[in-house]
Structure formats: C-alpha cells, structure tokens
C-alpha cells in the first residue's frame, strides 16, 4: 500500500497570547511548525504502515524553510519526502494549492490513499483536502475519526458528523481528511532523526510537475483577499467576585439577571 500525506508549514499557535486590553494577538516567537492537525493525518498513515506495511510519502508546497516539516515527518517514520517550491506557486488560494498538490501526487505515482488533516490552523478553510480529491476524482471521506478496516480495493471508516458517527465504505483510491480522534501522534525518535538525516528530499518546481501556469499562484487563484482587519475582540467583562457565601449568592444573582436581560434564560421543561 502507498499512502501520500500532504502537509503544511504554519505559524506556531501555542506561543500566541491574547492581549487582554486590546484583544489582539501577541506573537512572542513567530516560529513555524508542522500544522498540528496534519500530525493526525501523518499518524494515521504511519499506523497503517505499522499494521499492514505501507509506503508513506509526505509532500508539501511551501518556501525553502518548509523542508523543516518534511524532515520532521521523515523522522517520525515517513519514507519519502517531496518539496514543491517555486516562486510561481506564491499567493495561491485553495483552488491553486489543491491543483499544485494534485499535480505532484500524480507525479509521485501509484497510490491507494491520500490522507490530510481536517484543515490548516492558519487558513482554517478545510478546502484543500476535498479540492485535491476533486482534481484527481478520488473517493472522498471527510472528518474521519477512525479507520476500521482496509481491504482489497476499499476501506471502512467512521466519520464524525453533526448527528453522530457515520460508518462509510470507501472505494480506493481515496482521500480522507481526519480529525484529532483518529490517533495520538507519535514523537520523532532519535533513531528516526538519524535515519531522516540520511534521506534526500526531492525538490520539484512548476515545470517538474508540468503545472498549467494559468492554474497556479496568485494569477491562477479565483479569489482575491481585498482587506485584512484585526478586529478588537476584547469584550469588557462585568466582573463579580464570589468571596464568601453572601458575595457568591449576589454574584450568581447578577449573572442570572444579566442572562435574563439578554433573554438567555428560557424556561427549561424537565421530562
């Protein structure tokens, strides 16, 4: 089995704090990391590799610094890494990005599964996974929380949707986008890191993947960002201190009055 995992480099979110006064984002160290939600996709692939024996290829489109996340993926256990980098790719939206990734996946060659994270934590669109499936006409299952069975030509998976867990039978080749529940990501090991150092990372540009120039980068993107605003999200909270019994009762009453005023205390009927 051959599994391809597209991954993305994103700004680190765990260093980000909210300024309590302005409500804007304070980024202490603007470092980049592997999209944390892609770790679940990678782990799902590595888990299948452990269970069934599989070849795992990771691919990313990004600036030269993105080799970092490919190395991380190799040290976790991926077998092959492809870096798509070209100035022509810059400024692509999800349409252009999913096109470039689909071209690369086609070039990487025969595969059974593509697994992606649910979304990237910077763009937050969740559109690239389904987009790749559409370019390549793959079976698509999103929000996958478990892979129950992989057999010849199909797999059985569970999807987390609004109503509950939905079991689906998916013909291969397929693309799955996965949620956190699917697996607990492993940490890179020292041995893995050593092994990764010995591995070559393949670098491909637009020409290498025979990309149609009208579909890549900013020029190939149907959407345009026309304005970016940093909204002030801070709300000045009314604060009540619950020190002691009496203050606690008063604080609770203030809260209930507040909720009532906003019509948030609808009558609840007990069954």
């Amino acid at each position: 089995m051959h599994i391809i995992v597209p991954i993305k480099q994103v700004p680190q979110s765990s260093d980000v704090k909210m300024d309590p006064v302005t409500g804007t984002m304070i980024r202490s160290a603007r470092s980049s990391v592997l999209n944390p939600l892609d770790l679940y996709a990678l782990e799902a692939a590595l888990h299948l590799k452990d269970e069934h024996g599989a070849q795992v290829t990771v691919v990313t489109m990004g600036p030269p610094s993105a080799v970092q996340i490919l190395k991380e993926a190799l040290s976790m256990g991926a077998d092959r890494a492809v870096h798509l980098t070209d100035r022509l790719f810059g400024g692509g939206d999800t349409y252009a990005t999913s096109y470039v990734l689909s071209r690369a996946i086609e070039k990487i060659g025969s595969f059974d599964l593509v697994i992606t994270g649910e979304r990237a934590t910077d763009g937050d669109t969740a559109q690239v996974g389904p987009g790749i499936a559409s370019w390549l006409d793959l079976a698509l299952a999103t929000y996958v929380s478990a892979i129950e069975e992989v057999a010849d030509g199909h797999l059985i998976a569970e999807r987390l949707i609004e109503e509950g867990y939905q079991r689906v039978r998916v013909s291969l080749p397929a693309l799955l986008t996965v949620v956190k529940e699917i697996a607990i990501p492993r940490l890179p090991t020292l041995r893995g890191k050593k092994r990764a150092m010995g591995k070559e990372i393949e670098t491909w540009d637009a020409e290498a993947i025979a990309a149609d120039r009208t579909k890549i980068g900013l020029k190939g993107s149907p959407t345009r960002v026309v304005q970016i605003e940093t909204p002030k999200v801070a709300r000045s909270a009314l604060i009540y201190h619950a020190d002691g019994d009496e203050a606690t009762v008063q604080a609770c009453d203030h809260l209930l009055d507040f909720l009532q005023e906003r019509n948030l205390l609808a009558e609840v009927h007990h069954g």
Binding site: M18, P130, P231
Partner: protein
C-alpha cells in the same frame, strides 16, 4: 439575470434550520442585485408542503431532486447533480452551510466548476459598482477578519456558519416555482454510507446548540464534571469541554471546543474552569454572549468574556443552580 442560489439541507423529509438562514442571507443579496433567489434541495424524499417552507423564507424558485442516491449525503452524487444544474442555469452566487456536508461539497464543486470559494463566512455584501460578492471570514483562529472576492469567476461560492444569521419571520403566503432537476446520468458513488451511530444524548451536538456550557481542567476530576452536565441541563444547553478535559477522559471528543475540536457560535457560552488558551478561544470567537467562571482574575478567558464570576467553581455552581431553580419556581 443570473440567480442567487442557496443549497438547502434536509434529512428524513425535513428541512434543516440552516436552510432558512441561508435564504435570509440570499434574499438580501438577491434584492440588492435585483435577481431571483433559488434554493436547491437534493434529498431522497420530501413533501411539496415542506419544500414550500423555503418560499416562506424567501425562495422564488426551488430546484428539487428526489433520488434515493442523494440521502444520506455523499459528495460525488451531490456534486454530479449540482454540476449539471449549475451548467444549465449559470447562477452568479451559491451559498451553502459551513456544516460537515457543505464544507465537503463546496470545495469539491469549486474545483469541478473552476471557480472561487470562501469558507466559513460570517458576513456578506455586494460591492458597489462591480456587483461582486464581498465575503468576510475569520482566519488564524479568529484573530483576523479577511474580506475576499472572486472578481472574474462565476458562480461566486461561499459557505456560511450555521447560527450566524437571525431568522426573519416566515411569510406563509409566499409560493415558489418547484423545478425538478432530472439528471439522467448514470454514475457510481465510490462512497457508501453503511450506518449512523447517533450520539447517545443530544448534549453532544454542540455545533447546533444555542447554549453551550463547557468545563475545563478546573473541574479536577471526572466525577465533578456532572456539575457541568447539571448546569447545561438547567440552562437547556449542550455540554462542551476544553482539550485538557477531553484528553483526561471527562468528556468525549465530539464535545471538544477549539482549534483541534469544534468552532461554535452559540447565543450563550459558559466557560467553567477553563483558562482560555488561544486554541480554546479560536472555537468561540463568534459566540454572542460569553460567561466565565474562574478563580483566577487574570485568566485569559476574561479577555473575551461579557461577564465573569471570580471564585471557586465548586462553591459557585451549586449556588447558581439553586438560585436559578428558585427563580423559576417563583415565576
């Protein structure tokens, strides 16, 4: 006069509320552009009277297809019908819900149609002069708001967060023309739905709940989490949790709110014993009213809260439950 479309969602013969929210958005866009508003319904079975509810919320035209292959939702089938329909009628705008189905279907469709798509919009407007759709959405965990347009591609497509649109009162006298889609194509969907294991209790459905009460590490142990369940029940809300609470097994993953869980926009969000890490806040930026109960007067959650009680949650929640009960018996 290219139409504005909304993609309705239905299950078990009933339209979902989000279908009407989309029409409320679509109606104002269609009025501004002076074009008809249509709603597309792809499902297995649905009565005519139920379909006409779309008219009462603003639809002028209803494109309906009843086909056993269309329910439960699978992306290839829905995309096949929609691609044919879009090619036939060339709408200028398509709005869908940012639900698990909408967020699967629209990006798939956008590539098939070669047009732009903006995810998870919270506001829409028509640009003066050009008539382009301006799509406003939060990104980077809700820390920025981006305005996006697709000037050269039609249709312009967007998904809209459920619960981000107030519903107008329906006009039951309105009627729409129902047009069958009739796609004869014989196609095979590579995904087959086998079964659904519904959540044991409705309190798991946090994305549809008007009120969500969440507990975090401050609850200290699983047994104490019943305080959250009790408060949620008393307020008529669903139960949410921080990642720390989920990782400790106090609540299951479908309850998790935040960056690696769910993004929700309830009317009321109550955060109990939750510090308000940036990844948690990413999930609640668009909640209308936020209440914090925390013993730390410096907790990050206060930056987003409208009202907070500072103190020991184990002392506060029982009193809150009692005072709420008393208030209701007096009424």
């Amino acid at each position: 006069m290219a139409e504005v479309w909304t993609i309705a969602e239905a299950s078990g013969g009933t339209l979902k509320e989000v279908s009407f929210e989309l029409l409320a958005r679509g109606r104002s866009l269609a009025d501004e552009l002076g074009v008809p508003l249509a709603s597309v319904v792809l499902t297995d079975e649905i009565e005519e009277a139920e379909l006409q509810r779309l008219a009462s919320y603003g639809a002028d035209i209803i494109y309906a297809e009843r086909d056993p292959r269309l329910a439960p939702f699978t992306v290839a089938s829905h995309a096949a019908f929609l691609t044919a329909l879009v090619t036939r009628h060339a709408p200028q705008i398509i709005l869908a819900a940012a639900t698990t189905s909408g967020r699967t279907l629209l990006p798939y469709l956008a590539v098939k149609l070669g047009c732009g798509l903006t995810a998870d919009c919270t506001a829409l407007a028509i640009e003066e002069g050009t008539g382009n759709l301006l799509q406003i959405r939060p990104a980077i965990g809700g820390n920025i708001m981006a305005t996006i347009k697709s000037p050269d591609h039609r249709p312009q497509m967007a998904t809209i967060r459920p619960r981000s649109t107030p519903l107008p009162s329906p006009d039951h006298a309105r009627r729409a023309t129902i047009i069958p889609i009739a796609v004869t194509d014989d196609f095979h969907d590579p995904v087959q739905v086998l079964s659904l294991r519904p959540f044991g209790d409705q309190s798991s459905s946090i994305e549809n709940a008007a009120i969500v009460v969440s507990g975090g590490k401050g609850l200290k142990k699983r047994d104490n989490f019943t305080l959250i369940e009790d408060l949620a029940a008393a307020l008529g809300g669903a139960v949410g949790a921080s990642r720390d609470a989920v990782d400790r097994g106090w609540a299951s993953y479908p309850h998790q709110v935040g960056l690696s869980g769910k993004t929700i926009s309830p009317e009321l969000y109550v955060a109990v014993g939750i510090s308000g890490a940036i990844q948690h806040l990413a999930g609640i930026k668009t909640a209308k009213t936020i209440v914090a109960i925390n013993r730390d007067s410096e907790a990050n959650i206060l930056a987003l809260a409208d009202i907070a009680i500072i103190g020991d949650l184990f002392a506060i929640i029982p009193v809150l439950l009692r005072r709420l009960e008393e208030r209701r018996t007096i009424e």
